[in-house]
Symmetry: C2
Subunit: 244 residues, 2 copies
């Protein structure tokens, strides 16, 4: 069984349509490539109670939790307070983060800037990204800011700790539509119940009508399922094949 993960996107700017969240798609692709099974994404407002409840629920349900957004010096940055509230701990200034902030800002340090040192009590720093602060981890929860470039730097710095057996993927582009091949796919799944089989209609391509994805962590299981599919699709239905 793959290890599981959940993502909590914290941000009124996403829910109100001002910003398109791209962090979750980045993390979806990265986690898949690492062999981790992402089970759920939640997008919630910048509200302490909601953040606490959601992150604690995710922490209990999944092996890894990633949060993005709500980290910063202003009134709407309440992720640290929310997570602390959820786990019933205080918000403290992390000594190492505070040291770096004082070094960076010198005599221009102020209360707002020091808020960047806030973490839930018990949190540790992990990784060394290209920016001045590493990621913050509390239990199985990794807390990232919302700015995509910063998130990506910090995730890159720690991602190897999540790696396990990869998902192997075959893609078949079918000229026949789902109405024709649905029963073939059902038969395939009856023989290969552990196959991860996706079927996605494509409206705007003149050359094929459905993209089929076959996945497994077991190479021989995947190869057998793939051969079975090719031998049961109607003659001439396969437009193109991709994958390892």
């Amino acid at each position: 069984m793959a290890k599981t993960a959940g993502i909590v996107i914290i941000g009124n700017e996403v829910l109100s349509g001002k910003t398109q969240d791209t962090n979750s798609h980045y993390l979806c692709k990265e986690l898949r490539a690492l062999g981790v099974e992402l089970r759920r994404i939640s997008v919630i407002p910048d509200e302490i109670e909601l953040i606490g409840r959601e992150v604690v629920a995710f922490s209990r349900e999944f092996a890894f939790v990633f949060t993005t957004g709500g980290v910063g010096p202003t009134h709407d940055d309440v992720t640290m307070a929310g997570i602390a509230h959820g786990f019933g701990v205080k918000v403290i200034h992390h000594p190492e983060l505070e040291r770096r902030l004082r070094e960076r800002h010198g005599q221009n340090i102020n209360e707002a800037r020091l808020r960047m040192a806030e973490v839930p009590e018990g949190a540790e720093l992990v990784g060394e990204g290209s920016l001045y602060a590493p990621a913050v981890k509390l239990k199985n929860v990794y807390i990232f800011p919302g700015i995509p470039k910063v998130l990506q730097d910090r995730f890159e710095a720690i991602k190897e700790r999540f790696r396990e057996a990869p998902f192997l993927l075959k893609v078949v582009y079918s000229k026949e539509g789902e109405g024709v091949i649905a029963s073939i796919l059902n038969d395939l799944l009856a023989s290969f119940p552990d196959l991860l089989l996706g079927s996605y209609p494509v409206l705007d391509n003149p050359e094929y009508r459905v993209k089929l994805t076959l996945e497994s962590k077991d190479p021989s299981y995947l190869a057998q399922a793939f051969e079975r599919l090719l031998s049961t699709l109607p003659k001439g239905a396969v437009h193109r094949i991709e994958g390892s």
Copy 2:
């Protein structure tokens, strides 16, 4: 108070990083423009139990629920079954949808194609999109397919039913960073507690460092808060102003 909404995105293809969900951002922008307060987005797998539990929870919590994905003729299209399961009703063939499918496919109709007529018992059809099927509604839940063009056509056809007083928006681009203006924003919120105030750092623009968003449904409240902000920001801090 604005009416509330939640979105449930159903799709392994999103969680596994194969497809970037664009439907939620489309709906975020549309709902905001309609004056509806979107409170939560969940992205979950194509699994009957999970879909049922999530949609019922959303239906109880929010005025409107929108689901996307998992509607179609293949094995991984289990949204209708999941929602029916959640509400404790059967999946039936909607007579009008079945009539249209039989008209469209003639003697090529088959079991897979007839699955496109499946709805939870008690569901009604709403709107008349440009494609052959309208949206499906059960209680306060609007069920859309995952293909963006189809979703957009169908949402366009019914969106006026959700319209209420709009959110009014002012945007101020600040040359000063959050470390400098955070206390000004706190003071602003102390005086205007109902203001929806967002502060978003911008890393890659040489001309300004923070995008501030001020929102309210009350034009005079927004105007007063906006004037207060302009009068309290440091001299020369405003790069640009946008908004109604």
